[in-house]
Symmetry: C2
Subunit: 296 residues, 2 copies
């Protein structure tokens, strides 16, 4: 259906471990067409991606918000690669390089959660600085400060910081294969299931799991506020669908701050404003930035 005669579009990919969301748009928030394909082997998946964009192109530029870990250092020969993922076949896949060559356009590349943070900061929850936290099968955190996504030696992996445990909370060893009782090992969906045998939503309101999980997530939010002074924390993902949890985390976070942090009156904790669209909008925004960068 290569029948479009219109101007070139931005292309975006939200590259996940189970599915890739593809879209072309006039801007990050004006999507013209989108599709979803399953994540299989790199060869097959990237061939499908190339075919779909060729049918919907030409592209001005492509943005990829990818599952990780990824290499974000433009000076590294491995820039644009997925690095040491346990996902079979995908370790050391040059996803940005392969697609950039196949589609002959500049490529922007970042983590899925950094892309989502960028989209929420610009088009959703707002703020020139924002942390996007998703609490589901893992705990992913993307961070924007000074309107740029945060990366350095690597990229944010804040799901693997260690929350404080109370004196009477040392029975469960945690569920993270690397760190045991880090945030992800205590408050992700699988950790909750391993500890209490049910999802948080299925546990009755008075169950101590609600207090524990809200307490851990409040520490994560307090640490984000105290470390990078973000204006906005967006807190989403499956676990956050638990009724009352967002309010409990917000209340406990500000209690931890104890009216101390400068700028606290401008700090907020909110649900995602872009719903399921933050990832693909972020990918399209990465594309827009890559196009601008290539035309500086």
């Amino acid at each position: 259906m290569a029948s479009r005669d219109a101007a070139p579009l931005l292309g975006g990919i939200e590259a996940g471990g189970t599915k890739f969301v593809l879209a072309v748009g006039l801007s990050p928030r004006e999507i013209v067409s989108r599709t979803v394909i399953p994540t299989t082997t790199p060869e097959h998946t990237l061939a499908e991606v190339t075919r779909w964009f060729a049918d919907h192109g030409p592209l001005l530029s492509l943005g990829i918000a990818s599952f990780g870990p990824v290499e974000l250092d433009r000076a590294s020969p491995r820039w644009g690669h997925i690095t040491d993922t346990p996902k079979p076949g995908w370790a050391l896949t040059d996803i940005a390089g392969q697609l950039g060559r196949a589609l002959a356009c500049p490529v922007g590349f970042d983590t899925d959660v950094n892309g989502a943070a960028l989209a929420e900061a610009t088009y959703g929850a707002g703020g020139s600085s924002l942390a996007y936290i998703t609490v589901g099968t893992g705990i992913g955190v993307g961070i924007v400060t000074g309107r740029q996504t945060v990366h350095g030696a690597g990229h944010p992996e804040m799901g693997h910081i260690f929350p404080r445990r109370d004196r009477d909370d040392f029975d469960f060893p945690g569920h993270c294969p690397f760190h045991g009782d880090c945030m992800e090992g205590l408050a992700s969906g699988p950790a909750i299931l391993a500890r209490w045998g049910a999802t948080l939503s299925d546990l009755p309101p008075g169950h101590p799991a609600h207090t524990y999980v809200a307490g851990y997530l409040a520490q994560l939010c307090h640490t984000a506020f105290a470390t990078v002074a973000v204006e906005t924390i967006v807190l989403g993902g499956g676990v956050m669908q638990t009724p009352g949890l967002l309010d409990a985390v917000r209340e406990r976070t500000f209690a931890l701050g104890a009216e101390y942090l400068p700028g606290r009156s401008r700090q907020q904790i909110v649900a995602p404003k872009l719903g399921q669209d933050s990832g693909i909008s972020g990918a399209l925004q990465l594309a827009a930035r890559a196009f601008e960068g290539a035309n500086d």
Copy 2:
């Protein structure tokens, strides 16, 4: 001694609660003249500052790396102010505005530790991303990412995150008047003195204080690596003069990471490379950036 006929210089102020370090330089690392004045009242101190720079000017621009909390939002009417400090007389002092008007030049303004982080990243320990941590009478943290200092709603106050305490470590309530047993309440000089009645250097090598403090600081470093993915952590201040402490913190930080964080092979923990000069060099670098910004 207003006798210089040379080209205008950069001016820098490291504004501390007990003393102000003033310098003029050809560049952030080429200081031509410097002095130190005690911090008294805002009126008297800023008059002294103005007089010294007038004698050593004219200035291209002025950079101020200040004790806090401070307002860093350029859009705020309180930009350039020290905000709600407990230091008598200094709350709501418009330090940047007053000095910019008096010296008729553009002003760059940031926290003392953000300034030091900028100088260490550029001229000292290196890295396009860096956390500067000083462990002394308090725990101050400045952060540079993407070659910019981090600020948002406020600025980093990472000394007030909560480290995990072990099951057998709940006897001491902590020494922070706001948070009790936050990092500063457990590992700053005054906290160590309050808990064990001596400085860490004066406690014998086998004393458990060494293990506790290294453990808390390792959590701080791991959290900085996992949150902002900095390449370099500079760990200085009086407490860090304790023999063996830097090595112990480094070892325990990487043990916490458990070979998981992407980019870990490029992450390092080092002593300050600029010694006592990081603050004033950072202030001069803020001046250089203010001059460039004013001339964009």
